[in-house]
Assembly symmetry: C2
Homo-oligomer: 403 residues x 2
């Protein structure tokens, strides 16, 4: 069902020197599927992350955030259980997993970052995870990204991975990442995980700045209200085994490449959105601030009415106007607004464009990918979001998730 | 499909002296259905209303708001076309309808309030509406509430009407109302209309205070972000032909009765929600303010994940915790929160209640009506909202709305 999203070609996923990945079949929720991932980092690696702002944030998020203050040596990721809404017991369980892996990798539990995704409010099956660790550790390899992408899937139908090379002043570097998203219509309620690694040598502070900037232009463009699920995490790793990012230009080139990989991964989550049949870019232009453009973009991208119209390829575009109108921009002058569907001018100065033909909009909407473009004509800022349609299958998948 | 919502018994809808209703089949969108309603008010009647705050508010809303400043003599309501997103031309068309009715009723166009509901961004078919007015006016009768409830339906499957009598110090009075709601999951994107009338004699200022208070405890409890569709309107009429509300106690009794009628109507919109199979009360208690309780209630009531779980009778109640967590209450202490499903204590102090059995929650969720109760344990305020589940039929209805 995924929209224009072929599975990644393992041959095109460049290994990142200093980053080894191992997976296992731990039987966490269901037997017989890859559900555990261990990542070992070279000594001297630096990591930076952004995490959910949900008040019910999961135990692994609490620990990962804390452990990031130490030199990180490993990641442990499980699917099938989110370890969220589990209180103090959840923290203790997550820490036991960290401790078990730390012992095997000869580091401290505080140097291990835990990540979990799956059902909320059920106790983490520590024993099964710990029992799976030896196999994952035994299988640690640098060329294991494709398997890793599979091991972190939940309701994803396609593994998500992306890789790029970039030339810095000191030589070539590599950026490779994987992500998983239940591909929710509103990812703020889901668990979204993204891991991107590079071999570049770069200071922790610089990496921290990059991860925030990149998140805002990639994973946060498919997410509502900031990163608000219980488990959402995006982690950026620099193993430091490769060339150094020496100059501002190097750091800029690196950031661009990380952004490209991260945007691809974020878009892949939407392309694989639960029940998605359409991939829609929502661009809001000429607003007073990026924030107001995002607010309007989100109102459109979250409207069940707009999304069902996308699904039906029904150019019932008044629903988009209604969404713009209730986005909460108090002084918005609707009589200035233009609305395009791809290149079709639907609304001009707040009303139906006299020369607009519904057949033209229909043709655009029948494609698996199209863009909604709103021109506010009141400033110089813009924002781009990505979303999908709302189909029968969304309901089916979520009504039957646990059965 | 509507949940516990039998059609109103015409014999139980008390006529309101001084309020006559006439309907017609004007062929506005489809031929052969009642789609036009005219209401004539006795001289001296007072009216007060609350309207959408959507920036793209419809032409009839602009006019109704303006005309409310004059002594109102009539209402004209059409379905099949919302006359929203139609710019200046939309205003001119709505005014032509008012003028035509005013001529027939011997009043000024500025004494007529127009209301429209239906598809957004299509020109109002003035000629068809004007051609339907003679039949509607010819049929004006006080005992016509049941037909009026039918004439304002769009995707509603059941007409919505409610009537009560109340004893004031001067004698008995009557309160009768009708409403229509596309019964959206999020009514802020729909057109919701509510008209409630009484024969009580009361000052315009007092009626204005009542309409705001009542709206906040009825129609605004099934609505997000205030009243934010393009056409939402709730109008309260006092014909003044009956007993006078003389004392504070009279006004309080009247307000209570109007609230009861309005809550019934608002709940009816949810019971007839598009595709609804469950009617769910969301109550948030012991918050610091009613506003924060409403915010959390809305987060739960709008979550597609929570709503699909309702549909599936799946006690995947971690989804409710996630919604509470991202509701945007920054200093919320999750470890204080209790969560009930009807009388089943699911979450205690932010984590799974040790003695909670999923079978108990399942039994509650299998019923067509149940309550979600969140206890924040940080204050004395509370809020109650009503919502429905998200089913296949919601998608079906909205994907096929115009076809």
């Amino acid at each position: 069902m995924a929209v224009n999203l072929p599975p990644p070609d393992p041959a095109l996923l460049y290994p990142v020197p200093g980053v080894e990945l191992g997976i296992a079949t731990a039987g966490i929720k269901k037997p017989g599927r890859k559900d555990l991932l261990v990542v070992r980092l070279a000594p001297g690696a630096v990591a930076a992350g952004v995490f959910t702002r949900n008040r019910f944030c999961a135990a692994p998020v609490v620990l990962a955030r804390k452990h990031l203050k130490n030199p990180v040596r490993a990641l442990v990721v499980n699917t099938g259980n989110a370890n969220a809404g589990t209180g103090k017991d959840g923290l203790a369980r997550a820490l036991r997993v960290c401790a078990s892996l730390a012992e095997r990798l000869d580091c401290k539990p505080q140097q291990v970052l835990p990540f979990s995704t799956g059902v909320i409010m059920e106790p983490l099956p520590v024993e099964r995870i710990v029992a799976g660790l030896p196999a994952a550790v035994a299988g640690l390899r640098e060329d294991n990204w494709a398997s890793a992408a599979q091991a972190i899937m939940t309701t994803d139908t396609v593994p998500k991975a992306c890789s790029r090379k970039v030339k810095l002043s000191g030589g070539e570097a590599v950026v490779t990442g994987i992500a998983k998203g239940a591909g929710m219509i509103r990812p703020d309620m889901a668990t979204m995980l993204g891991f991107v690694a590079t071999d570049v040598k770069i200071a922790g502070g610089a990496l921290k700045r990059i991860v925030k900037k990149v998140a805002d232009q990639s994973f946060n463009c498919v997410t509502v209200d900031g990163d608000t699920s219980t488990n959402d995490s995006f982690l950026l790793i620099a193993s430091g085994t490769g060339v150094e990012a020496r100059s501002d230009n190097d750091r800029k080139m690196l950031e661009q490449t990380i952004l490209e990989v991260s945007q691809r991964l974020a878009q892949a989550i939407i392309r694989d959105g639960e029940g998605a049949t359409k991939f829609v870019t929502v661009r809001v232009e000429r607003g007073r601030s990026a924030a107001e453009c995002r607010k309007i973009g989100y109102a459109i991208a979250h409207s069940p009415l707009v999304k069902t119209a996308f699904f039906a390829s029904d150019p019932n575009l008044g629903r988009i106007l209604a969404a713009i109108g209730y986005a909460g921009i108090k002084d918005l002058k609707t009589e200035k607004i233009d609305l395009y569907l791809d290149d079709v001018l639907v609304v001009r100065k707040g009303g139906r464009n006299p020369s607009y033909l519904e057949t033209a909009a229909l043709a655009a909407m029948k494609k698996p990918e199209f863009a909604v473009r709103v021109i506010l004509n009141r400033g110089q800022s813009a924002a781009t979001l990505w979303t999908c349609d709302l189909s029968y299958d969304y309901v089916k998948i979520n009504a039957e998730y646990r059965t």
